[in-house]
Symmetry: C2
Subunit: 135 residues, 2 copies
């Protein structure tokens, strides 16, 4: 529990690579997957999501690939997590998420309120940390 998913790990590794190695130049998904020997298809999907969220720019065709869409300082960890996991998946307890009805004991649950405090601390931390801090 409380683990970052591979999606997040790969996303962070890729963003770091694009920022450092790319440094303005276009980087391909294949280049990154080769370098770190991670699944190309999986990484490709991660990059697609980051592109859709406006975190990176994507370029089709020969010589295509990705560049950062903004400076590393402006890319917050919270954005990356949101882009890759979706809103519902970033809360420590089910009750806080998009679908409270998915929690089987919602109305009887006595800990959701106090746990929101913990949630805010985590959220604040994630929205303060930027990609530049993992370079």
């Amino acid at each position: 529990m409380l683990n970052f998913s591979k999606k997040i790990e790969y996303g962070l590794i890729a963003l770091r690579y694009i920022a450092l190695i790319g440094d303005g130049n276009i980087v391909t998904a294949k280049e990154i997957s080769d370098k770190y020997k991670i699944s190309y298809e999986l990484l490709a999907k991660v990059l697609q999501k980051l592109a859709k969220a406006g975190i990176i720019n994507s370029f089709y065709g020969v010589n295509g690939g990705y560049t950062l869409a903004k400076s590393p300082e402006k890319i917050k960890l919270s954005e990356v997590i949101l882009a890759l996991e979706g809103k519902s998946n970033i809360s420590i307890v089910t009750c806080n998420s998009d679908q409270p009805e998915s929690c089987t004991i919602f109305d009887r649950c006595t800990i959701k309120t106090p746990l929101n405090k913990i949630q805010s601390v985590i959220n604040n931390m994630f929205s303060e940390i930027s990609i530049s801090e993992i370079l």
Copy 2:
């Protein structure tokens, strides 16, 4: 991702119940599972682990059950998580856990060091928050 498991949720609900409703008196697993309509067997195992970790006292037989082993202020969230999940399961990235060899890209991974910072913030928070704060 980043969700607390049901084990943790049930554990916290149970600890709160024992602290508040029990208030020194013995509380049974059945009483709690009935009250919150959660799986008796699952809750029972959670309570067994909490007892083994010295967080609650257990009493066999007729009129048996559980009481807190120490005051709520002294029961930290980190203890509860550790008791219920084990050491290896409380890190945001695989690389930080007990088995670094379980990470397939360990030697090529470029984000484990910066992520340790995030890990410490989370760990500190968990070791500061006590059960009294969720009552």
